[in-house]
C-alpha cells in the first residue's frame, strides 16, 4: 500500500470516527433528556461517545507506524512538547488552586486540546526545519 492510499484510508477511518462520535453525542443528549433509564444505562450512554474516539486513536497509531523516520521523529518531538506543556500547565494550575480560588476546568477538554496542540506543534516543527 503506497503513502497516498494509507493517507486516504486514515482519513476515511478518522472522519468516519468523528461522524459516529457526533451521532453518539446526539444519542447521548437526547436519551439522557427524554428517556427514563436505570443508572447503569445512563453511565453506558454517557461514555458511549468515547468508543469512536478510541477507534480514531488506533487509526492514528496505524498512520504513525506508516510514517517515514523523519516524520516519526518530529511527531514524537511534538508529543514531548505537548506532554511537557500539559504537565507544567496542570501542575501550575494545581499549585495555584491550593492557595487561590480558581475557575474549574472540564477534564473532557484535555484530549481535544492535546491532539489539537500536537498537530499545531508538529506543523511548527516542520516549518522550523523548512525555513
Amino acid at each position: 500500500m503506497n503513502k497516498s492510499e494509507q493517507e486516504t484510508k486514515f482519513m476515511k477511518r478518522f472522519i468516519g470516527s468523528m461522524v459516529v462520535f457526533l451521532l453518539l453525542i446526539a444519542v447521548q443528549s437526547f436519551s439522557l433528556e427524554l428517556l427514563d433509564m436505570p443508572t447503569w444505562l445512563q453511565v453506558v450512554v454517557t461514555i458511549l461517545p468515547v468508543t469512536p474516539l478510541i477507534c480514531a486513536f488506533f487509526a492514528y497509531k496505524a498512520r504513525y507506524k506508516a510514517l517515514d523516520e523523519y516524520m516519526k521523529a518530529l511527531t514524537g518531538e511534538a508529543f514531548l512538547w505537548m506532554i511537557g506543556i500539559l504537565c507544567f500547565s496542570s501542575f501550575i494550575y494545581g499549585m495555584l488552586a491550593m492557595k487561590f480560588s480558581l475557575p474549574s476546568v472540564n477534564l473532557a477538554l484535555v484530549m481535544p486540546v492535546v491532539f489539537g496542540g500536537h498537530g499545531l506543534i508538529l506543523q511548527l516543527l516542520i516549518w522550523k526545519d523548512n525555513e
Binding site: N2, E69, Y70, M71, A73, D129, N130
Partner: protein, 74 residues
C-alpha cells in the same frame, strides 16, 4: 553529517518531491536530510546512495570537528 544530495539531485534534475517518491519518504524528510537537519538511518542513507549510483561515503560525510563546534556555538 554533511551530504551532496542537493548537487546529485540537481545533476539529475530531480525535485525533492521526485526524490522523495523514489525513496518512499516524505518531501519534508528529503529536505531535512539535504539541509543537514536530520541524520538519516543507515537504511535510508544506503537507499539514497544506491539511487544516485554512488557509494555511501561519496554521498554522506561527517562534519569536521570545527564545523560541529561552530554549530554548537551558534
Amino acid at each position: 553529517m554533511n551530504n551532496r544530495i542537493k548537487v546529485l539531485r540537481a545533476e539529475r534534475d530531480w525535485s525533492q518531491q521526485a526524490l522523495a517518491d523514489k525513496l518512499g519518504v516524505s518531501r519534508q524528510a528529503v529536505n531535512a536530510v539535504e539541509r543537514g537537519k536530520h541524520d538519516p538511518s543507515l537504511q535510508l542513507a544506503f537507499d539514497m546512495a544506491t539511487l544516485f549510483g554512488q557509494r555511501i561515503e561519496d554521498v554522506f560525510f561527517p562534519e569536521k570537528k570545527s564545523d560541529t563546534d561552530n554549530n554548537e556555538e551558534n
